[in-house]
Symmetry: C2
Subunit: 199 residues, 2 copies
Amino acid sequence: MKRVFVLIANKAVTKPFNLNDLAGSAGRMDIVCRFISQSLFISHGVRKNSEVYVILKGEPDPLKTLKIIGSEVRYLAPDERNIGGMIKKALKEGVDKKWKKVSHGVYISRKGLVELLEELGGNFYYLREDGKDITTVHISDPVFILGDHLGVSEEDERVIMKKAEKISLGKISYQADQCVTILNYILDKRLNNSQREIT
Amino acid sequence: MKRVFVLIANKAVTKPFNLNDLAGSAGRMDIVCRFISQSLFISHGVRKNSEVYVILKGEPDPLKTLKIIGSEVRYLAPDERNIGGMIKKALKEGVDKKWKKVSHGVYISRKGLVELLEELGGNFYYLREDGKDITTVHISDPVFILGDHLGVSEEDERVIMKKAEKISLGKISYQADQCVTILNYILDKRLNNSQREIT
């Protein structure tokens, strides 16, 4: 079963940035890097059933959206700087509404949230502290949508709630990348997946 | 309930390193940074009930052990580079067998695994794929011990197994930092912790 993770990165910049300042002038690009890393990697392997989308809403040229396909990526490592380098390379490309391939499994386009959600198939789940407890929700063909440290704007939330069910991991507010790790763990357990099945 | 996380970092260097090369010449210090980050942080908060210990076994001056106390740390951010900077600062200090305070909540010493486990109180759990399924194990006052990407040496494993119960998160091999996130999630659920109780 495919797992899709979508992050709305409210301040992540839309031009090449300084890899030494991911958490500062790059607009909390460190959060984006960890989100991608946790969506794709397990110990000594990449989840071939994972896809990640990140909507970059920061200056100076929003919106841009990244797509990373687990079954296609090569030469990617789980550290923030390596993933930051991949994103920086993507941001050097000119973009339009179609996906442009930047490197193995990595694409960029001018799509925003509305167009992205129209394109994605599956069942949409919006992670919110006040959502329905995930332990009581059946999950299939999931597209999980998450906000960054600033959450999700009212406008984006209206778009999401036309399609998505609100679900929650419990009473603690986890970071976006932690939510992904926990979601992957919950699905691994429910589906009884083995290492070989997913990498 | 206090939660203690111990990482054995087989190649992490024991002198100041290049922050631009955490995953390379610093001996997979990126793994150490993520481990500390996932032990301490949730969204907009630090877990005041978490303690982290990292045994640095890399060249040129092993062993050195870091201690980070969640209830004492200040000015720490969850990104790898920020935590790497904190570790680098600690490695500039001269060390002996006693804990030396480096900054708020951060200590370093010459202790190795044997001395560290003697010092720590609580119940010891060693994370291994072939351990007992955690869903069937009662966890109290935990000291979780994990290896990095290289696992744990036979010698260290003998030391650990004198005190610890082997437990497992399932059939998938997760990265050390992912294990921490999942362990924290499992304990948050079991203890029904709220954000206010732990930060």
